[in-house]
């Protein structure tokens, strides 16, 4: 039992380390927000693992909250990048129109 749960803990720590590496290295903001989603999934798994090892259910409400609000970060960043791109395209188009007038 301890061996199985310990192996699960090792796998989860490795997963979190790899996801954090991608968050640091990831070239675009989208890569970073995707890896932060994976880190949230790993945190949920670790809280579940902890409550099994400790044998109590005190950490489980954290899990409920994380599963409910975990997606807001990705949605916010995705909207931010999309609107920034839209504004940039609009700017380029306006500038092209201004050059045409001159």
């Amino acid at each position: 039992m301890t061996v199985i749960l310990g192996l699960a803990a090792v796998l989860l720590v490795t997963a979190a380390a790899l996801a954090l590496w991608r968050m640091v290295a990831g070239p675009t903001p989208l890569d970073r927000i995707i890896s932060s989603d994976v880190v949230v999934a790993v945190v949920i798994a670790v809280v579940g693992l902890y409550s099994v090892v400790a044998g109590n259910a005190t950490g489980l409400p954290i899990l409920l909250v994380l599963s409910l609000v975990g997606f807001t970060g990705a949605v916010g960043v995705a909207r931010l990048i999309a609107s920034a791109e839209g504004v940039r395209k609009l700017f380029d188009r306006r500038q092209a129109m201004r050059k045409d007038e001159e």
Partner: protein, 114 residues
């Protein structure tokens, strides 16, 4: 007694499987080339891995309150994961962060032109 032991071991094995899913997602995150392919790897543990791990926790703790809480957690995750997946992939497509050489069918680009 024996049944409880079996449930404990089954729960621990399910948690191990969920942890393996998380590790597979992280490896995919490191190895795959663009945001869309990375998202393909990353969204697996957030639903199926979570389902495995929370089933394991329910089998280990065996408390009706815990099972209710974890069912709610899975339900919320299933409801919210498609929202973020849709928005992130839409942004990746609109900002052109995908490999156009290997795309065979690009229906969104075709629809956006209309």
């Amino acid at each position: 007694m024996t049944l409880e032991l079996v449930a404990d071991y089954a729960g621990a094995l399910l948690i191990l499987a969920g942890a393996a899913f998380c590790l597979a997602a992280a490896v995919g995150l490191v190895r795959f080339p663009g945001p869309l392919t990375r998202m393909h790897a990353a969204t697996k543990p957030s639903v199926f891995g979570l389902l495995l791990i929370l089933t394991g926790v329910s089998l280990s703790l065996r408390d009706p309150k815990v099972i209710t809480l974890l069912t709610l957690a899975v339900l919320f995750q299933v409801m919210t994961a498609p929202v973020s997946g849709h928005l992130v992939s839409r942004t990746a497509h609109r900002t052109g962060q995908y490999d156009r050489e290997t795309v065979e069918i690009d229906e969104l680009a075709r629809d956006l032109e209309d």
